[in-house]
Structure formats: structure tokens, C-alpha cells
């Protein structure tokens, strides 16, 4: 796998004719154009964070857990790249 590239140049816009869930799906598709792996990772991370807790401490706990999972996935990818 090649080194991850910068995100797509074309701008993303919300389509008012579609539902919020559909627009979010389009957003991830837009990101996938430049980096499908990271787009999937982001989709999973956002889903884990929702609904966003009101309390600051609960929000921090969730964030830390999600980011640690992301770090583990990134290291796994790096490790797989090395094996290849």
C-alpha cells in the first residue's frame, strides 16, 4: 500500500434533498476517493463517538478510547506494510 495522500481537492457539499444520514454517507464516499482506509477508520470512529456525551469527562473518556483504537489500527497497518 502506498503512503496515504492528502484529501480530495473537490469540495464536499451537503445536499439539502437528502437526509442527514445519507449526506454523511456521501461525505465518507468523498473522503474515500483519496484515502479509503482512513475514511473507513473515520466512519467507525465517528459512529463510536455518537451520541456525543454532554459531560466533559465522559466525552474525554470516549475520545481517548476511540483514539487509542485508531492508533492500534494505524500500527497494524504499518506493520502489515512492513511485512509486505
Amino acid at each position: 500500500m502506498s503512503k496515504p495522500q492528502a484529501t480530495h481537492d473537490e469540495k464536499f457539499a451537503i445536499d439539502p434533498e437528502l437526509s442527514a444520514v445519507e449526506n454523511l454517507r456521501r461525505f465518507y464516499e468523498h473522503l474515500s476517493a483519496s484515502n479509503p482506509e482512513y475514511s473507513r477508520l473515520l466512519e467507525s470512529a465517528v459512529a463510536s463517538m455518537l451520541p456525543l456525551p454532554e459531560s466533559g469527562s465522559e466525552r474525554s473518556s470516549k475520545r481517548v478510547a476511540v483514539n487509542r483504537q485508531i492508533a492500534a489500527k494505524l500500527d497494524e497497518s504499518s506493520s502489515n506494510l512492513k511485512k509486505q
Binding site: 457539499a13 454523511l24 455518537l50 456525543l52 483514539n67 492508533a71
Partner: protein, 835 residues
């Protein structure tokens, strides 16, 4: 998109509605505006609360109650024998016309259970999909919208337009992209530290390789250092010595056993002196490496600056005792136990501003101290100065520098915890100076001793020993460099991946936020002409033009007046009266309802006109009827209006004569008895009253008789178009029957005097001479004046009959359809047909 409309609401045992065994059933129409009128304390609010509980799972009034009020026991009607609250919604969806029944129950234990008698899967999901900011609206909703902070208002507004989800996703992205936290969360500092240490060690090892290579070969190693080439050069240089050649020939430097070579040299002769010489050389080298380096000066400066900042921040707080106090206060203020954040928990005095902000400011000061302590600790732990001091003190006999060990330990502990002060650093600097002196002295002693040992050994053996030492050092350094390279490569890959991810998330967040702002701005602007037109239609004030202003980059929403009698861009909250502020909130909500509705095709409005006079109430209703609701707006909302206002009820009643309005009245004896539709009422009321009277029970019969009388008299007034005083609805409720009778008799007298009365002679006489006096004498004196005269059940049954006969006086025989049918007069001067 599939939308749901309400066909029927059934309520039993919930809040003020008992109706045990006989639920209140409200039928609603999709093709009409639906209104429900009830006087105070007749169960109207319980209907709104029932819908709130069914759709949202909460009754706001009970949720907001103080913990001491044990609100949980007030969901179910307290007089229902089973204590089980049940609400059933019959929904119809468009465009598929699918009918769904969803039942929501709350049992004695407080459990909310949702199921579907029609077998719909996941009824809870359907209910959740119906919940939005504009599904259930009452006057509190508008008040909150106006009085809320700009941030809360912005969030409500986002919810109104269905944009709440985008806002939430953006906040999530911002949380994930925050550089301040992301770096720490993914372990970046630790990786960077490890990489830095590896590079520093590599740098040291490369210096070792250069020095050893020069000693062994007399030439400089080629840069950049090639591990294999440098190793080969070392082996080649030593292969020339016969004694050790067998241990080197044909081997890669990684395979050489230096211990075997050293044993071979020792076994030659002078073994012990050689070992000692090697040790002395090593000690001199180790001590030499501990010379202070230039980078430490800057490092110490950074550390001193951080310590100084920390001390300053610490002085701004009031000590750890206050930290504990503020933490407890914060917890208390956030809990359900403490309802009013403007009351001090300590002294119960009322404050000008919520205490929460002040407490948080104070806690933030401690957070600053903590942050600086963390930085001090990190700087200390990673610093070269600390490492050198510790290594030096381990190499030197610290008994020759008394007090050094104690200072190092004490200051070291404080610095690791981030609690060191400038005075401590000064003490450490003095320790450093003394250790440096001791180090130099130790080197001098070791060198002197080395020179003496070398004198005892043959020069060739001394030289060989030295060469072997260099060879070993070079080999070890090359191995470490090799291992470090592999590890560094791995660390760099992991750091690169984290940086790449951070860049990706940052850019994704930026793009999403930009799209969200653009969408939100466009939707807000699109709404502007709608809510402005609505506001103008309600207030009829063209010189007041409202506007919503979003704060750039934030969720905040401000309410301003673009024009206020010539003043531009002024505060709506400060200048508008309460009713006009409510009108503004209504305009925005109704505008949003016109613009964007979700799965709920219906909107429930409870007492939304309570702050308006009659004229403005009418304007609001006309806006709803003509701009929002079906049937005038073909794909509009199914609107359900709940009201207790007798004035606006006249408007509902009048419109219900046409086809596009479905008006219902409820009445009853809540919270113990039954709440029912007035349309069902008369027969039910009469039967129940008769039943009680026939059993000799006057007390339970009386309120039913009163309601029956009022209904029948109002029916006559309405159907025969009899004029009533405009303030009839506002008059004393206890004298309503008398008021209604007065209105009827006055109107009849007027028509009689003018020769226009359509009633027959016998009807007119009976009315004037028999029925009205009998009702007034029996009923009015007994009930409305609160007299103690005893009436028998038979007399009260007679009152019921008299009212039926009075109602009959306003009917005639119609033969238009072929048979004989009794019909009411059109009004007091004409019939409904030519009969």
C-alpha cells in the same frame, strides 16, 4: 420520505386522566386542523403530557421537579386502581397508508414498555423518529427559545431545521481532530521521545565508531557510516596479530567473541594487570562522556522558565483546600440535588450570575498549575542534565561530596512530580558544580593509575590490549546502530502514520464544517422570508423586522431586529414586549415547520397563544390554518391545537362548521373520574346522572347534571344562533347555567317584542311560564347560590326533563324528507326549510 399522522390517541390512567376501563379516545383527522378545547383542570395538559411521554419518554414538568418531590410516582393517575398508565397512538403513514398502533405503558415500578398491538416491529424506533423540536410545542418552548443563551438557541434552531445531526457530527470531528489531545491519545509523545533517545544514542555510538576506527586503522571512517564496511575494517586491522587472528578470520564482526580474545590475551601473561588496565581505560572513557554539553544550558533555562511560570500560577490559586471545595461545589451544582445555580449552596444567598461559571474559572486556575507541573515533570525526565547528574553520581564515590546524594534524591522527586521550585534548581546547580569537580578529580586519579599499570606491562601487550578494546567498542557500537536503525524505522513509520491521520482528520473536519456552515446559512436564509412574513401576519407591524444571526464558526444564534421603527440591528430580547417576543419565536417555529418536517407529519401545539390578546390570537390561528396546516396547504402538517382559552374556542367552533376543521371539547371529572369528549357527552352524562339519582345519590349526580344542563343550553344557543354577551365565556363559571338561560330568554323576548319570534305560541308560553322558571327555581337556587335547601332525586330528574323540553321548544316538525322529523330552527326568526 414516509411520514406518520395521528388517527387516534387513547389515554387511560395517565396523569390527570383516570378513565379506568374507559379510555379517553381522541380521533384526529389528517385532512383538517384539529383543535381540542377544555376548561382549566379538565385534562387538556394531560393529553400533551401523554404525547410527550409516548414520543419522548419524558414529561418535562416531572423531569424538572426537585428530587424531594418524588416525581416518579406522579406519572400514573393516583386514583387508577391498577396504577398502570397506558397511551395508545394509532398512526397512519403516507404515502403507503399503513396503519400502525403503538402502545406505551408505564407500570407501578416505573418501567416504560412499548409494544404494538398491530404487530409492528420496533415501535420504539418509530416513536423516536417522530421526535423533533417541532413535534410537541407549548408556550414554554417559545419562552425558552427567546430566553435561552445564544448557544442553546442555536442548538434548538439546528434541531428545528433538522440540522442537529450535522452539528453533532461536526463537534465529534472537532473532538477527534483536536491536535492538543490527539497527539497524547495516540501515544505520539512517547514514540517521539523513544525515537529521540535512539537518535541520541546513535549519535554517541557513531562517535565511538569514528574514534575506535581511527585507533584501529589510523584512518577516518567513511561518512555516512556503512556498518558492514566499518565492521570489516575493524576485523581486518586486528587479523594481522597472530595471537588473535584465529578468532577473527572468516568472521563477520557480529560473530566475533571478544571475551574469547581477551581470555587468550590474558592467558599469555600479566592477566590481572591487563584486566585492570582495561577497567581503568573504561572508567576514564565513561567519566569523559559525562562532560557537560552545550545543549544543557538551554535545557536548564527552559526548565527554570517553566518552574517560574508554575510558581506564578500557583500563587494565583488559593491552595489545595480551596481546590477540594471548588470540586465539591461543582459536583453539587451539576447534580439534580441543586436546582438553582444562582443560589450559593454555602450561604443560600442569591447571586447575580450563576455560580457554576465562577467555580469553573477557579478550577481552571488549578488546571493551569497541573498543566505546568506536567510540563516541568516531562522536561525534567527527558532532560540531558538530569541523566548526566544521575550517571555522574553513580560513577563518583559520593562520600567525597557530602550532601549530594540527598539533594539529588529530594530535588529529583519534586521535579518528577512537577513540584520543584527555583531554589531547588539553584541547589541542584551547586551539586552539579561539586560533582563536576569530583569527576575531573576522578579522571585525574584514574589516568595516573593507568600510567602506572602500563609501565608494568610489555608495550606490545599494552598496545594489543588497547586495540582489542577499541575493536570491541567498535563492534558493540555497530551492533547497537544496526538495531537502532531498525527500531527507528519502525518508530518513524508509526509517527508518520499518526501525522498522516492527523492531517486527514483535520482536513476532513475543515471540509465538513465548511459544508455545514454553508448548509446552515442557506437554510437560515431560506427561512428568513417565511418567518418574517409570519411575524408580520401575526403582529401587523411592518416597522418591526426580525432577523436571525448566526455567529461565524459557532452554533450560537442571535435574535435581532433588522428594523425597529427606524432603528437598525438592535436586540430583539431587549426591545420587544413578551407577547411580541413569543410571536417571534412562534414565527420561527412555524416557519421551520413549513420548511422542514421529519417523519412526524403532525405538530401538537399546546396553549401557544396564552400571551396574546384576542386579535393576535386570531392572527396566529389564521397563519397556522392558511400557511402551515392541511387542508389549505395540500402537503402541509396535521396540526393539533390544544387550548383552554374560551375566546379562541369561538373561532374553533365557527370554523368547525366548515369541512377543514375538526373541533372537539373535552370535559369530565379529573383526576378521579372520567374525561370524555363533549360530543359523546350528553347521552352519557344524562345516563350517568339518572343512574345516580335513581340510586338516590345526589352528590355524584350534581356535577353531571350541571354539565348536561350547560351542554344542552349551549347547543340551543349555538344551533339556533342565539346572541350571547361577548364576555359570556369569562363570567363566573358557577353561574353559567343562569347566564345561558338569561341569554336565551333575553333573545326570545327581543324577538317576541319585535314580532319576529318563530317559536309557536305554545312553545313560547311554555318556555316563559313553565320551563325557565322551573329550572331557575330548582337548579339555580340549589346549585349556583350554594343554598342548603334539600332537593330530592325526583326533583333533580325533573330538572333534566325540563331542560330536554326547553331544547324541544326550539324545534319544529319538518316534512321535507317525506316523513316527520324534528329539526331545530335556523334562528329565532326563521326555520331551516319551507315547512
Amino acid at each position: 420520505m414516509r411520514q406518520f399522522f395521528i388517527e387516534e390517541i387513547s389515554i387511560e390512567g395517565f396523569r390527570g386522566i383516570n378513565n379506568e376501563g374507559d379510555p379517553l379516545r381522541l380521533k384526529l383527522r389528517r385532512d383538517a386542523v384539529n383543535s381540542v378545547f377544555a376548561r382549566n383542570a379538565q385534562g387538556k395538559s394531560s393529553i400533551f403530557e401523554a404525547l410527550s411521554f409516548a414520543i419522548r419518554g419524558v414529561v418535562p414538568k416531572l423531569e424538572d421537579a426537585h428530587a424531594s418531590e418524588s416525581a416518579g410516582q406522579y406519572y400514573a393517575n393516583r386514583f387508577h386502581s391498577k396504577g398502570l398508565a397506558e397511551i395508545t397512538l394509532t398512526l397512519v403513514s403516507e404515502p403507503d397508508e399503513n396503519r400502525v398502533e403503538i402502545r406505551v405503558r408505564r407500570d407501578r415500578a416505573g418501567n416504560r414498555v412499548v409494544d404494538s398491538p398491530t404487530g409492528t416491529s420496533d415501535p420504539e424506533a418509530i416513536l423516536k423518529s417522530l421526535d423533533s423540536e417541532i413535534t410537541l410545542v407549548d408556550h414554554h418552548t417559545f419562552q425558552r427559545f427567546v430566553e435561552d443563551s445564544p448557544l442553546e438557541r442555536g442548538r434548538t434552531f439546528s434541531g428545528l431545521l433538522g440540522l442537529g445531526f450535522y452539528s453533532e457530527v461536526r463537534q465529534v470531528l472537532e473532538v477527534l481532530a483536536s491536535k492538543r489531545t490527539l497527539s497524547a491519545d495516540v501515544g505520539q509523545p512517547a514514540l517521539e521521545t523513544e525515537l529521540r533517545m535512539i537518535m541520541e544514542s546513535r549519535s554517541t555510538d557513531e562517535q565511538t565508531v569514528r574514534a575506535a576506527h581511527r585507533h584501529l586503522t589510523g584512518t577516518d571512517v567513511e561518512e555516512p557510516i556503512d556498518i558492514s564496511a566499518a565492521g570489516l575494517a575493524a576485523v581486518s586491522a586486528l587479523c594481522g596479530v597472530d595471537l588473535i587472528a584465529p578468532f577473527l578470520q572468516g568472521k563477520d564482526f557480529r560473530e566475533i567473541s571478544w571475551d574469547e580474545i581477551k581470555r587468550a590475551i590474558r592467558s599469555e601473561e600479566h592477566g590481572q594487570q591487563q584486566s585492570h588496565l582495561l577497567k581503568l581505560r573504561q572508567r576514564i572513557e565513561d567519566l569523559g562522556r559525562l562532560e557537560p554539553v552545550a545543549e544543557e544550558v538551554e535545557e536548564v533555562e527552559v526548565l527554570r522558565r517553566l518552574v517560574s511560570e508554575r510558581s506564578e500560577a500557583l500563587r494565583n490559586t488559593r491552595g489545595t483546600g480551596f481546590k477540594t471545595l471548588y470540586e465539591v461545589m461543582d459536583q453539587l451544582l451539576q447534580s439534580e440535588e441543586w436546582k438553582d445555580p444562582q443560589i450559593c449552596p454555602g450561604c443560600d444567598s442569591r447571586l447575580e450570575a450563576p455560580l457554576t461559571d465562577r467555580v469553573r474559572e477557579r478550577l481552571a486556575e488549578f488546571s493551569i498549575v497541573n498543566e505546568l507541573s506536567t510540563k516541568v515533570s516531562a522536561e525534567w525526565r527527558e532532560g540531558k542534565w538530569r541523566k548526566r547528574l544521575q550517571e555522574t553520581s553513580s560513577q563518583i564515590d559520593v562520600t567525597v561530596v557530602p550532601g549530594v546524594a540527598e539533594v539529588l534524591e529530594l530535588v529529583g522527586k519534586k521535579a518528577s512530580a512537577g513540584e520543584v521550585e527555583l531554589g531547588d534548581l539553584d541547589a541542584l546547580a551547586e551539586v552539579d558544580r561539586r560533582l563536576e569537580e569530583a569527576r575531573k578529580e576522578a579522571i585525574r586519579i584514574a589516568e595516573k593509575e593507568r600510567a602506572e599499570v602500563e609501565k608494568l606491562l610489555p608495550p606490545s601487550l599494552v598496545s594489543l590490549t588497547e586495540q582489542v578494546a577499541h575493536g570491541e567498542k567498535l563492534g558493540s557500537a555497530l551492533k547497537r546502530i544496526e538495531n537502532a536503525e531498525a527500531r527507528a524505522k519502525d518508530l518513524k513509520a508509526r509517527l508518520d502514520a499518526r501525522q498522516s491521520w492527523a492531517d486527514f482528520v483535520e482536513e476532513a473536519t475543515r471540509q465538513f464544517a465548511e459544508a455545514e456552515v454553508k448548509n446552515s446559512t442557506a437554510r437560515t436564509l431560506a427561512l428568513e422570508p417565511i418567518y418574517r412574513a409570519t411575524y408580520a401576519a401575526i403582529t401587523r407591524h411592518p416597522e418591526i423586522v426580525p432577523a436571525l444571526r448566526k455567529v461565524s464558526g459557532k452554533e450560537d444564534l442571535r435574535l435581532v431586529l433588522e428594523n425597529f421603527f427606524g432603528l437598525e440591528n438592535v436586540s430583539a430580547g431587549a426591545l420587544l414586549s413578551e407577547s411580541y417576543r413569543n410571536a417571534l419565536a412562534i414565527s420561527i417555529f412555524l416557519g421551520a415547520a413549513v420548511e422542514a418536517r421529519g417523519r412526524a407529519g403532525f405538530i401538537i401545539l399546546d396553549d401557544i397563544t396564552s400571551s396574546f390578546d384576542a386579535g393576535h390570537q386570531f392572527n396566529v390561528m389564521e397563519v397556522i390554518r392558511t400557511k402551515l396546516a392541511r387542508p389549505v396547504v395540500a402537503k402541509g402538517a396535521q396540526v393539533v391545537i390544544l387550548s383552554h382559552d374560551g375566546v379562541i374556542e369561538k373561532y374553533f367552533d365557527r370554523l368547525s362548521d366548515g369541512g377543514g376543521w375538526n373541533h372537539q371539547r373535552i370535559q369530565g371529572t379529573p383526576p378521579r373520574g372520567t374525561v370524555y369528549l363533549q360530543a359523546d357527552g350528553p347521552d352519557r352524562l344524562r345516563k350517568q346522572a339518572e343512574s345516580f339519582l335513581n340510586a338516590g345519590q345526589i352528590d355524584p349526580a350534581e356535577p353531571l347534571i350541571r354539565q348536561y344542563l350547560e351542554y344542552k343550553l349551549q347547543q340551543v344557543i349555538r344551533n339556533v344562533d342565539i346572541a350571547v354577551p361577548f364576555d359570556l365565556a369569562a363570567r363566573d363559571d358557577r353561574k353559567m347555567v343562569q347566564n345561558l338561560l338569561n341569554a336565551i330568554t333575553k333573545s326570545v323576548d327581543l324577538h317576541r317584542a319585535g314580532g319576529k319570534l318563530v317559536l309557536s305560541g305554545s312553545q313560547s308560553d311554555e318556555l316563559e311560564k313553565a320551563l325557565v322558571p322551573a329550572i331557575v327555581a330548582n337548579w339555580v337556587s340549589h346549585y349556583e347560590t350554594g343554598g342548603t335547601k334539600i332537593f330530592t332525586p325526583y326533583m333533580l330528574l325533573g330538572v333534566l326533563d325540563d331542560v330536554d323540553k326547553l331544547a324541544d321548544c326550539f324545534t319544529y316538525e319538518c316534512r321535507c324528507s317525506g316523513g316527520v322529523q324534528r329539526r331545530q330552527y335556523r334562528d329565532l326568526s326563521s326555520r331551516r326549510c319551507k315547512c
